[in-house]
């Protein structure tokens, strides 16, 4: 993935007080943030919550962003971390209230996908993704859906390239097994 040419310019404008520049940055990255969060958590409501969290972090932290990494890997990193936190939060929440996490996610009917066929496919894919460990899911989603290189994935996850490749392999293998099981 290539960094957009004027990311730096927009960040600088925002830091010097131009709020509209922040809105343009959001417009540029909102869909990437949403779909990564959606695939990580498996549902719209959590993805929506993550989008808002990511924007708040961006808004507060952009002032200290020094472009030591690309803006998009930074945004992906925040999104991935927030997604993992929401997954943890759901587990903690289900533990505290002793309710079934799967049931909670299953009851969220709200969605932005209007086409029934597309929604069914998204649900089918998400259901399978939720069955692999979150860290493997993170690498798999970044690689397959976002088509990022292992160097970029490594920068986002903070893990080595080798570890990312291993996570991808295990995720892929497990997903294939799950698909095979469903066919039987």
């Amino acid at each position: 993935m290539k960094e957009s040419n004027n990311d730096r310019e927009l960040v600088e404008k925002f830091v010097s007080g131009n709020e509209a520049a922040f809105n343009l940055l959001v417009k540029r990255y909102r869909e990437k943030i949403y779909w990564l969060a959606r695939r990580m958590t498996g549902n719209h409501l959590d993805a929506d919550e993550i989008v808002q969290q990511v924007l708040i972090v961006m808004y507060k932290k952009l002032k200290t962003f020094k472009f030591q990494s690309s803006l998009y890997t930074w945004i992906y990193r925040i999104t991935a971390t927030r997604s993992l936190n929401v997954i943890k939060k759901n587990k903690i929440r289900s533990f505290l209230s002793l309710e079934d996490e799967i049931n909670r996610i299953g009851t969220t009917g709200e969605d932005i996908i209007r086409d029934i066929e597309e929604k069914e496919k998204m649900d089918r894919v998400n259901k399978l993704l939720q069955k692999i460990p979150p860290k493997q899911r993170e690498v798999f989603v970044l690689r397959n859906f976002d088509e990022l290189s292992y160097e970029e994935i490594s920068e986002i996850t903070g893990k080595s390239i080798g570890a990312s490749k291993a996570n991808y392999f295990h995720a892929f293998k497990k997903l294939k097994e799950l698909i095979d099981e469903n066919r039987e």
Partner: protein, 203 residues
Amino acid sequence: MKTENDELIIRYIDGQLSNIEKTGFEKKLQTSEELREKVEEFRRVANEFSQTEFRSIDEDYFNNIVPAFRSSLEKEKLRPVRRIGYAIIGVLLFISSYFILRNYVINNDDSQSLQAITENLSEEELDEIADYVSDYSWDASSNESIINPVIEDDLDIESFLSGISPEEGYSILSGYQINDLYSEASEEQLQNAYEELLNKEIL
């Protein structure tokens, strides 16, 4: 052998084979129908999880992201006192859970103790508490902990915890020692306890 093949196929589809490996693999592909079928199976899996262009998406949702963000930013500014309150409850609940899990005595009575604490909380309150507990992990975007401002002292929580019985732990649940506990634990100590809690299978 099977796993080796799987690994090779996945790396082939993923474009991760070296030129030499790729040439060798494609030679095998030409001569083995079984291998060709297997590669196709893996390809179908990869395609199932590839980028999708949606024909029909609610564009209003994306258009409303900025207004929704501006509104939540305003709300954020208005509730700092409440946030610290929930942070304290969050720390308390996770330490309480720690006691239950640490002693490996997860049975109905223990679950009920925890349930008794949480049953009077609203959905929103439970969400906020879970938020603070989950936010307590490392965050790539921030080295600050939401709990940090309320914990200033440094004490060895390991010895503090090891000297406490489950019953005493439960008394913390009922609130007798809350203030002592959170003022005595350092961020690092709570982090260790939290990580241990998260590593338990129940979470």
